[in-house]
Symmetry: C2
Subunit: 250 residues, 2 copies
């Protein structure tokens, strides 16, 4: 199967998200940053710390999308199994990465903390992986084929993603316009459907809300084609005004 | 394939999560409530408002887990396509549900708002579906086979989930204990791995953190077996104490 260019998937690895213990804070950051470089986040999966689940998700998502990003499971404890699972998924041996060993040895020397056997697990990568630097706690992420393995801790994940963003090949950047109107969705829905049918390259989303003063709807138009975006937005604005929705751009 | 008893998957439908525009607030609520009734949330997927993606995810997840919950895409606008996709996935005709029509007709009568053709889209369900009440904005969710279709708006989703929880068949409830220790993960990792190997029915998770005063690690033990949970927790507590981690239960 041909990978779709300028697309990405995110695989979140961790029992703690599925149990509700930890509230994911990484999805919005990753979604916004990828959008910013013209990469379209097309799918997200969350799976538990179970080898077969991780391997199968890595294989399915890396085969289909141009980029796969993973978060979580790269620490020193027994439940950190991402590196070995990714190695299996891409069919490479898991090795003690020499560059990662150097980085971590220096880091723990500085801290005066023993670089013990469990901590050395953080230096394991599939053979041939390129490291992603971790400016916060040293333990690196890595890239193998199109799979980008990152930490789950938000600050570290953000630094890792920012480090790899310049190397991604995006499509034309998506632009967005948001029109707020003061009616319920149902009042403008027929007009929106008609405009959506006319503008294939524009994605029109409708998000209802309610405040003390009544219903409102946010209409979000997204496109990589600025002219189509302007034309569709003008059409939506006019139709909403004609329907009494008092539109304004946000 | 036999469905795994007392398991569930969550399918989040919506471009707005993948673009980063909307931050999901539903995962933690759903995860915690399901855990509370002994249902193990095993997988989450987020897919865009694209028919083929939704149909294929519904089929894959409903075949594998005892329950599938979906959120999003049940409003009146063109991008709300969940009902028709679920109907395709379970191979039933999409019908104008008579009970949903009655509820929505009464609702819009009360509001003095026209129950127009687009709003009537919210009364469409697969044939044979049971409705899930919506005490906030009337438009119901529905259950067909093991698929539970809910709204994406958090308040409405929560009311819908709470309405169906009593009918779910859970396993024995998971219990959890959390031990806080004041060392980094790497210091206690070998001991944890050894204890994890001894207690197969207990899931031991390790979550690092850092504050101004140094590193700390939260150790979370989860099990449906209270005796095993107590024994494993005691073992972790003792080992962490012996390693100078000054453990305390949270």
């Amino acid at each position: 199967m041909e990978r779709e260019p300028a697309t990405a998937a995110l695989l979140i690895i961790g029992n703690e998200i599925l149990s509700g213990r930890t509230h994911d804070k990484n999805i919005p950051y990753i979604a916004e940053r990828l959008t910013g470089v013209g990469v379209n986040l097309r799918e997200i999966r969350v799976v538990p710390d179970i080898e077969a689940e991780i391997v199968s998700a890595v294989q399915a998502l890396s085969a289909r999308y141009a980029y796969l990003f993973t978060t979580g499971g790269i620490g020193p404890t027994h439940d950190d199994i991402t590196a070995e699972c990714v190695a299996k998924a891409v069919d490479r041996p898991l090795i003690r990465n020499p560059e990662a060993m150097r980085l971590l040895t220096a880091h723990y020397d500085r801290l005066g903390v023993p670089f013990n056997e469990m901590r050395q697990r953080m230096a394991m990568t599939p053979e041939g992986a390129a490291l992603i630097p971790n400016p916060i706690s040293a333990a690196p992420g890595f890239i193998i084929d199109n799979v980008h393995v990152m930490a789950g801790v938000p600050k570290i994940m953000q630094a890792m993603l920012d480090a790899v963003l310049p190397d991604l090949v995006g499509g034309p950047p998506m632009r967005a316009k948001t029109i707020m109107c003061n009616t319920g969705e149902g009042t403008v829905a027929a007009a929106l459907a008609e405009i959506q049918a006319r503008f294939e390259t524009v994605d029109i989303g409708s998000y209802p809300g309610q405040t003390a003063t009544g219903f409102h709807t946010q209409l979000v138009l997204r496109s990589a084609d600025p002219d189509a975006l302007d034309a569709a937005s003008d059409a939506v604005f006019e139709e909403v005004a004609a329907l009494g929705g008092a539109p304004h751009y946000l």
